[in-house]
């Protein structure tokens, strides 16, 4: 079971292990605390998500990296076996627990750029409030794009791309778009597992501390990061967008 390692970027101070993270260990068949890797961010030293994920990639050696937000609760025993079964197919590059069948509108690249053209459609998951976000889905399927709350990635995919794009992309937003588009660009499949879980969500981005940090970053604001991330996705993945699994 050393194939998997669990990578978390968190603001929780050492040695705290956030409760939601414990649920993934407890519901796995073989994972222990030894498989947990943290990037501990602080208000003074916050790398943001993308650079944190890159640091975790460099610090670990497992062939499959589970990047899961520290506010996602697992409710399914044996989730790890289900994920590993997906990775038995060497063409599978990324697995997640919430995803959409379509990424990018029909107008994308045909009309002048608008951020909304990069939206996703046909979202499905098996979180507690799945119906609020889209449709409930318990099975496994190919998807166009996954939600960033759970991104389980074959290391080889990231290695081929030189890791996470922390020097180009904003530290927040669009890293899920990036990873899934990259997978398609490199010929991998992106898979959704309807693992029963729950994403508490909204804790980081809405906090005044985060907003202040965003304003002090080179990007100037959270909104500027959001816009810049989308623009980069638009430019970098012309060959694979829009993507549809319908």
């Amino acid at each position: 079971m050393s194939e998997l390692c669990f990578c978390v970027a968190t603001m929780a101070p050492k040695p705290v292990i956030p409760d939601p993270v414990c649920t993934w260990i407890n519901n796995s068949t073989h994972l222990t605390a030894n498989h947990l890797w943290f990037r501990r961010n602080t208000a003074e030293n916050n790398l943001g998500v993308v650079a944190s994920y890159e640091e975790l990639r460099q610090r670990t050696a497992a062939p499959i990296l589970c990047y899961i937000h520290d506010d996602v609760i697992c409710r399914e025993l044996g989730w790890d076996l289900r994920v590993l079964e997906e990775f038995e197919d060497p063409k599978v590059g990324v697995v997640g627990f919430g995803g959409a069948l379509r990424h990018g509108s029909d107008e994308l690249y045909k009309r002048p750029y608008k951020l909304q053209q990069l939206g996703r459609a046909g979202y499905r998951s098996n979180v507690d409030d799945a119906e609020v976000h889209g449709e409930r889905f318990e099975d496994n399927c190919d998807v166009a794009v996954l939600d960033g709350f759970a991104l389980i990635v074959r290391r080889e995919l990231l290695d081929r791309a030189g890791g996470w794009p922390h020097d180009r992309y904003p530290p927040h937003h669009c890293y899920d778009y990036f990873l899934c588009c990259l997978a398609h660009q490199l010929g991998y499949r992106v898979r959704l597992c309807g693992v029963r879980c729950h994403h508490l969500g909204g804790r980081t981005a809405l906090s005044p501390a985060y907003q202040l940090w965003a304003e002090r970053s080179k990007w100037g604001s959270d909104q500027a990061m959001h816009e810049a991330g989308h623009r980069l996705i638009y430019e970098d993945f012309r060959d694979v967008l829009p993507w549809s699994c319908v």
């Binding site: 994308l108 690249y109 045909k110 009309r111 002048p112 750029y113 012309r238 060959d239 967008l241």
Partner: protein, 389 residues
């Protein structure tokens, strides 16, 4: 993989028409794809050594090339199966699509199944029932792949064939069509810096309403003393007589600058666009509307009628002029708009005061059409997705 022969069919790529430019650009780009071997059967003009594909020109007096097609395919493709990709109006292609009743080598060839029929169809009007006229609908039914220029075109074609039709816009070279130095541009066109310059780039054919263009300028001139009208046309005398229009509208010939297509290359054309305060395209329906996007790429607003495929290219609703009524025209029952020149003048005056006339606004509205962006995003994928035949 053995490259698939794809024979483009349309206006000769050396001509200065919109269809020729589309064919030339696409054939050149497809020549760079290893999956294809490109040939081009072009109507009018001659072959050029500067183009990277085999060329089979035919004369206008040979109609639509019916007598040359079978020979051309045999020479180009031999016994290979491939694609004939037409870039022209469906009304010209009934014989090609539906060869019932055609005897001899041409009929045998058209029925041979040696090639797929792909078409990129201009749709500059609708007929009764918001589709094309019946014969054109029948033509389309025999195609294996149908592609439209615009969403407008796709909707008309969808109704014509009873199924979904994709659309992809044309590309252009934004390095050439770019805002030029205003002072230089005005000097090249021979107008003063304080003149109000209105441009119009259209060929001389019935659908391009030069009569309306001059009526607009005559009214505009009556209210504004320093109006200069730049009219760029392939020939001054064919369907319209531009000199007669100048005379009859009693315009001062010194205020009308008429240039013909051969006088300018694309770079020089971009200077002329850049010299304008705005351009107008008073045609009675566009499949696409290159003069719209060329003008915008040069940072200059374009006023256009609210009809046809060109509407989608205008980035600002207030730059569109609504028809007062429409009428049927030609044997193909094309619905054509009728405009009031006064509405155009009002729209021009409003546009001249619009904050959206800033060059960046115009240019950003066509940035996605640059070939560097459009080819990998849309066209390359479209051609590659059709290689399994």
């Amino acid at each position: 993989m053995h490259p698939i022969p794809i024979l483009f069919y349309g206006d000769n790529p050396r001509l200065a028409t919109g269809l020729a430019r589309i064919g030339r650009d696409l054939a050149t780009l497809v020549s760079g794809l290893p999956q294809f071997r490109v040939g081009y059967m072009g109507r009018g003009s001659m072959a050029s050594s500067k183009l990277p594909f085999a060329q089979y020109p035919f004369h206008e007096w040979e109609e639509w090339g019916e007598s040359k097609l079978e020979f051309t395919w045999r020479d180009f493709a031999g016994d290979d199966h491939g694609i004939i990709f037409t870039i022209t109006d469906p009304s010209r292609l009934h014989w090609f699509a539906n060869p019932n009743g055609i005897e001899g080598p041409l009929g045998d060839f058209l029925r041979s199944g040696k090639f797929e029929r792909w078409g990129y169809f201009p749709v500059d009007s609708v007929s009764i029932g918001e589709r094309l006229t019946r014969e054109s609908c029948q033509t389309l039914q025999h195609y294996d792949r149908i592609l439209a220029y615009t969403q407008f075109g796709a909707e008309v074609l969808s109704k014509s064939v009873g199924g979904h039709v994709e659309w992809i816009p044309h590309g252009m070279n934004l390095d050439v069509f770019t805002p030029r130095d205003f002072t230089q541009a005005r000097a090249k066109l021979g107008v003063r810096l304080d003149d109000l310059v209105v441009g119009c780039v259209m060929t001389n054919q019935a659908r391009k309403d030069w009569g309306l263009a001059f009526a607009i300028i005559a009214r505009l001139t009556a209210g504004i003393p320093n109006v200069k009208f730049w009219a760029h046309v392939d020939t001054t005398l064919r369907h319209w007589d531009l000199r007669a229009l100048v005379d009859d509208f009693r315009l001062d010939p010194q205020n009308v600058i008429i240039t013909e297509t051969g006088a300018f290359n694309d770079s020089e054309l971009s200077y002329a666009y850049s010299a304008c305060n705005l351009t107008i395209l008073p045609s009675l329906g566009e499949g696409f509307g290159y003069p719209i996007v060329e003008s915008l790429a040069c940072g200059v607003p374009c006023i256009h009628g609210r009809y046809g495929g060109g509407v989608e290219l205008i980035p600002c609703d207030e730059w569109l002029v609504s028809p007062v009524i429409d009428r049927l025209d030609t044997p193909y029952n094309c619905l054509r708009p009728v405009f009031d020149p006064g509405d155009w003048v009002e729209t021009i005056e409003r546009a001249l005061q619009s904050p959206n006339k800033a060059p960046d606004f115009c240019r950003n509205s066509v940035a996605h059409l640059d070939w560097h962006a459009l080819w990998p995003s849309m066209w390359k994928k479209w051609f590659e997705s059709g290689v399994v035949i």
